[in-house]
Amino acid sequence: MTDVQTQVAGDERIKHRSRFREALIRPELGGIIGTILVFAMFLIFAGDSGMFNSQGVLNWGQISAQFMIIAVGACLLMIAGEFDLSVGSMIGFAGMLIAIFSVTLGWPVWMAIIVTFVIALAIGALNGYIVVRTGLPSFIVTLAFLFILRGFAIYLPQTIERKTIIGGVSDAAQGDWLAAVFGGKILTGLFQWLGDNGWIAVFERGTRKGQPVVDGLPMLVVWAIVLVIVGHVILTKTRFGNWIFAAGGDAEAARNSGVPVNRVKILMFMFTAFCATVFAACQVMEFGGAGSDRGLLKEFEAIIAVVIGGALLTGGYGSVIGAALGALIFGVVQQGLFFAGVESSLFRVFLGLILLFAVILNTYIRRIITGER
């Protein structure tokens, strides 16, 4: 960036700015405004469509939680100055590994999951290693891995099982302790009590008659919340968080100041891979199987959520809370358009327009913060 200079306090050449306005102006502001707008909009247009009953809330809640899980990884990585186009392929690949290990090879599910995490983290580290060693843009390196991982996600089941979907993980996962961490539900008691008291809908027939339709908080949502909190704390409250900002703001300057930039970047690539694998594991456990096409285009969705949340594509600036709000907006819009009865092929058009609108808003906010012009 070009040299930007502003005179300091007490300078007659700068207009006064109120404390209130100062407090308002933060990276998440765009996300907060967007969230309010989006909810207001759907409350008006889809308020009585079931979007805000327990089932509806769980529905967009889960979609948003999905986006959040990958957005947290993408956000920290983007703030560290890189990004990862292989997230979607990693989701497909990791899910496929879990299924192959547990079903085809018959390993216990906990072992399948752990080994998959190890492999995914290794691939994340490899991504990062190539980027920091060669100095290539991460766009290209991770684009290569987008193809490589997707290729394997198709090739492996294709050669091993002659199909592109491997099912039966549910049976294998029965009673597995680690599977429950990804596929289970918590607070079931609370939801049953809510259902018994008629505050949330219950099943009207079938084997589960009388049970609440929403019978617990899926672990997917728990993971999303935990990752957002952990990500936020790491980024804003720790030494390592400062290093992430520094690595993305100006790698050379950070390196000269004693920040281990390479380590930070590689760790962030690994964290992104970790998030993608959490996503994959939750998906495999919930649906009991893996498919070659899982996670298609998820890398873009993650990047979009992060950017809507106010992060800078070029690194050094952003917020995990913002990214989480971006994911929430994205999830609510995606599902809300349906509840509002909008023609589904127009969804993409809306998505594009919202993205454009969000980045322009965020740019404006950021310029106020940094004084950049």
Binding site: N59, E204, G206, F287, G288, G289, F338
Partner: protein
């Protein structure tokens, strides 16, 4: 919601197809027409990228919006059975269409199944081809990551009684690439007896490929599903047969069945197999007129 005989019921059809898959038009047109005729509200929903996990969420969402019925495909039992069961249990009536099997439909608690079991259709086609003296083939799979596509090729191979092996190629969806990959394959394997394509996306460029290398009309050519160009191909004899699963029926009938069920409590006692029907050169007139729209 069974006994209400008022108009304006709401039905949602959820498919597994990505936005761009042209074959699903007929389905959209089918429900739209049924909706008009029965005076009910219908809606079509699909995962934009064809990701089945996204589709599961859409079924959940559809259930949350409180429709009278959901019509959905069952292209992966593992992924979709949970949400479908939950929908059934929460009081939404479900009909399975297009993919899946009658048994699976029963298991998830659906009212009935309307469609063409993919593996069986492939198998039937294989048996027919075997009768016509086919010994080797090329299956052009333009949608490799979808399990039902692979099942079609697998069924065909099994019907012929030969190993599938490398005879299925991942052609991608770009017409030029499909065309040239088919050419490349036939170039290296000139002794190939037959070609099987899985829908208009792969059939149209494949026809051009055959025209270009002079095998048009010479090589045994069968395809799944119909489309404008396929009909032309049938007419000109380039394509020997098309397996018509009559998607129109798969969309139209469930709406009609559900509406009547909800209004008058009547329900057919059996599943409906909309296909496989073999369409050949004979009797193409109606097909020609409505190909891509209702056929």
């Amino acid at each position: 919601a069974t006994a209400a005989s008022a108009e304006g019921e709401k039905y949602i059809l959820v498919s597994h197809a990505p936005d761009s898959d042209s074959w699903w038009n007929t389905i959209k047109n089918g429900i739209a027409l049924a909706g008009e005729q029965m005076k009910v509200e219908v809606e079509y929903r699909n995962p934009p990228t064809g990701d089945l996990a996204d589709m599961a969420r859409i079924i959940e969402q559809a259930a949350a919006s409180g429709p009278n019925g959901i019509i959905t495909t069952l292209s992966d039992y593992d992924v979709l059975s949970g949400p479908i069961k939950a929908a059934v249990d929460s009081g939404v009536d479900v009909i399975i269409m297009n993919s899946g099997t009658p048994d699976q439909a029963r298991e998830v608690g659906a009212l009935m199944y309307v469609g063409q079991p993919e593996y069986d259709a492939g198998y039937a086609a294989g048996v027919r081809a075997k009768g016509d003296g086919v010994g080797s083939f090329l299956c052009v799979n333009h949608y490799i990551s979808s399990p039902s596509s692979t099942e079609r090729c697998q069924g065909f191979a099994d019907g012929l009684g030969i190993e599938l092996g490398d005879q299925m190629i991942d052609s991608g969806q770009d017409p030029a690439e499909i065309k040239n990959r088919v050419l490349a394959y036939l170039n290296t394997n000139p002794e190939t007896d037959a070609i099987l394509t899985l829908g208009p996306t792969s059939a149209d460029p494949t026809m051009l490929a055959l025209e270009e290398n002079g095998m048009a009309g010479d090589i045994y050519f069968g395809t799944f599903d119909l489309g404008e160009e396929i009909v032309k191909g049938l007419k000109s004899g380039v394509i020997n047969w098309g397996i018509d699963q009559q998607p129109f029926l798969q969309a139209y009938l469930p709406v009609v069945v559900l509406t009547n069920y909800h209004r008058y409590g009547v329900l057919p006692g059996n599943n409906i197999n909309s296909g496989p029907g073999f369409v050949t050169k004979d009797g193409l007139e109606k097909v020609e007129q409505f190909a891509g729209e209702y056929r």
